[in-house]
């Protein structure tokens, strides 16, 4: 089947006025402005098939939101081609957005002063949803997202998690075939995150909605996505199965150990000392090769440990490892 999204050599460059320092600089800035080009998206190509649930991840400023905005028809790219569901998003904005749903981080689509239910009802008219269809969807989402407790509350009084749930409902009321979620779990606690992840999973499985999800929280993708795209500095670093990513780059962890006293020699087999600060030493180790408890055993055989904590790799670690791997594999790549 034809892919629902086809992106080829996508570029988006922003011109940003360079700020000059000091009073004289500000004055010169008035007279002649100097511009700097930010390559937010710098030559990205991919295809996404119907029904996929893709994690689009990368560190802050990588270009995730910019890509999503282009796919959603909000932003016109500098170069490249984009076909979403047979349309060029920004050329046919109205018919395009009628077939997609989108939630952008903490910005709400709902009317600030209206109770949630009234916002949802208004969207019924905005998207021209048949009443029967609207009733059925609303009933289903109310149950899935547990909306009932705050359906009559004005949007401005909702907690962040509640607002995200209301926004997810709003984005799905018109049965979009595509759902864009830009950092849907940002700022939420563990319980709220989990509820949202469950909803995303169910929507994808039960309705076959194609979903692209951006995040800089690796646990989002680990729990949800089979396919992962990693972007950094506007370029695609990895596009493939989550399992492959895990095998090649995953498993890296860090352990911070607080010793009873300052030791001269803290090195240990199977881990690398990343940083040292008095009694506090940070080790990095590969979870495939050695478990945390083995490592603790090796260290405590020689030194007295007072306290420790283990940290999973985050997206920055992952990106760094990909770069390192690339440097080793193909010195002239990129």
């Amino acid at each position: 089947m034809a892919p629902i999204i086809k992106v080829e050599n996508l570029h988006k460059h922003f011109k940003v006025a360079r700020h000059r320092r000091g009073f004289l600089g500000a004055f010169r800035g008035l007279v002649s402005r100097e511009y700097e080009t930010v390559r937010a998206v710098d030559g990205i190509s991919f295809e996404i098939g119907r029904g996929e649930l893709v994690g689009y991840i990368g560190p802050n400023g990588a270009g995730k939101s910019t890509t999503i905005k282009i796919l959603a028809g909000l932003l016109v790219p500098t170069g490249g081609t984009v076909i979403v569901n047979g349309r060029v998003p920004w050329r046919e904005r109205k018919s395009h957005v009628a077939t997609i749903g989108a939630v952008f981080g903490q910005r709400t689509t709902l009317w600030w002063d209206l109770p949630v239910i009234e916002s949802l009802e208004l969207l019924q008219y905005v998207y021209d949803v048949p009443p029967e269809r609207f009733r059925r969807n609303l009933a289903e989402f109310r149950e899935m997202l547990e909306l009932d407790q705050f359906l009559e509350t004005p949007v401005r009084s909702l907690s962040l998690g509640q607002r995200m749930r209301a926004d997810l409902c709003a984005a799905m009321l018109h049965d979009p075939m595509l759902l864009f979620l830009d950092e849907p779990t940002i700022g939420l606690d563990v319980v709220a995150k989990e509820r949202i992840r469950q909803f995303i999973r169910r929507i994808n499985r039960e309705r076959g909605t194609t979903i692209i999800l951006t995040t800089h929280d690796l646990s989002d993708v680990e729990k949800l996505c089979e396919r992962v795209m990693i972007i950094d500095h506007g370029r695609l670093l990895f596009d493939g199965e989550l399992s492959e990513l895990r095998n090649r780059f995953g498993g890296e962890r860090e352990m911070v150990v607080y010793f009873d006293q300052e030791y001269d020699e803290v090195a240990v087999d199977g881990a690398e000392v990343v940083s040292r600060n008095g009694k506090r030493v940070t080790y990095r180790f590969d979870g495939h090769e050695i478990t945390a408890s083995e490592l603790i055993g090796r260290i405590s055989a020689r030194h007295r440990i007072r306290d420790l904590s283990v940290r999973e790799a985050d997206i920055e670690d992952l990106v760094r490892k990909i770069y390192e791997g690339r440097l080793l594999e193909a010195p002239d790549a990129g």
């Binding site: 011109k15 957005v97 009317w111």
Partner: protein, 269 residues
């Protein structure tokens, strides 16, 4: 078309209901605006009490100009609330414009439906009251043509000033903050044409005739309604340009607006 109107009314009704939620502050601002407008006309009346005319026009003749502009501008201010540059620039800064672009409706329709400042009603009714009283005192010689033309002048004034709102808002795509210069045209223009144009210096009048043709929106129609001679010797059709100039202004400003939206979609501030 019916769907458009239906959606528009629903969007506006949201705005009205939100304002009703803050009822106390709503009523306060309503009466405050009423007071300010009345004081405005009151001080004008004081001038007449001392000089008994302005450029040869009586209080009620000036009241005709004044009331007409106040009511028309106020009505525009109400319906174009969303295009008020100060309100619109907030829409951009808060990212609401992105939400608007995400909905399968015209952007213009949604901006019009994004704000509806009810307290403008006080200004509208003050203006209408001053206008009605002035007309009553003046003993205007009404003909069917004059009765038919009056709403067109009102409409022309609305479109004309609405155009300035749209231009002012469009400029915020580039500047983010609203620009004061636009206010000089919008609010300065409103103040100017509330008085007979022949009292101003030549260069000022020329500016508001040939560059910003505000003179045709209020002064010339008033000459026609009040059957006064034209001191500047314009062609006979000059009093009838109000709707043409107004609509032309609005159409041109919406062309600029579409250009601005395209610019926004390629930069997204």
């Amino acid at each position: 078309m019916r769907r458009t109107i239906d959606i528009y009314l629903r969007l506006i009704s949201v705005q009205i209901r939100s304002q009703m939620q803050y009822r106390a502050s709503f009523l306060m601002s309503l009466s405050a605006t009423a007071l300010i407008t009345f004081l405005g006309f009151g001080s004008l009346a004081m001038v007449f009490w001392r000089f008994d005319n302005i450029g040869g026009w009586t209080l009620w003749e000036v009241g005709f100009l004044y009331g007409m502009v106040e009511a028309a501008f106020g009505t525009m201010d109400l319906f174009f609330s969303g295009f008020n540059p100060h309100i619109f620039s907030r829409l951009i800064r808060m990212g609401t414009l992105d939400q608007i672009l995400l909905r399968p409706l015209s952007v213009t329709l949604q901006v019009l439906g994004s704000s509806f400042i009810m307290k403008r009603l006080s200004r509208i009714s003050q203006g209408a009251l001053i206008f009605v009283i002035s007309v009553a005192m003046l003993d205007v010689h009404w003909t069917p043509a004059k009765v038919a033309y009056l709403p067109l002048v009102f409409f022309g004034l609305m479109c004309f000033f609405g155009g300035f709102f749209v231009i002012g808002s469009t400029l915020t795509f580039w500047t983010v903050q609203p620009i004061e210069v636009v206010n000089i045209f919008t609010y300065g223009g409103r103040e100017m044409i509330a008085y007979p144009m022949h009292i101003y210096e030549r260069w000022m009048r020329d500016f508001f005739t040939y560059i910003v043709p505000a003179i045709f929106l209020n002064y010339y129609p008033a000459l026609y309604f009040l059957e006064k001679p034209d001191p500047f010797g314009m062609p006979d059709f000059a009093p009838f340009l109000a709707p043409v100039v107004g609509v032309g202004m609005l159409v041109a400003s919406f062309a600029f607006w579409s250009y601005g939206i395209r610019h926004y979609q390629s930069t997204a501030t």
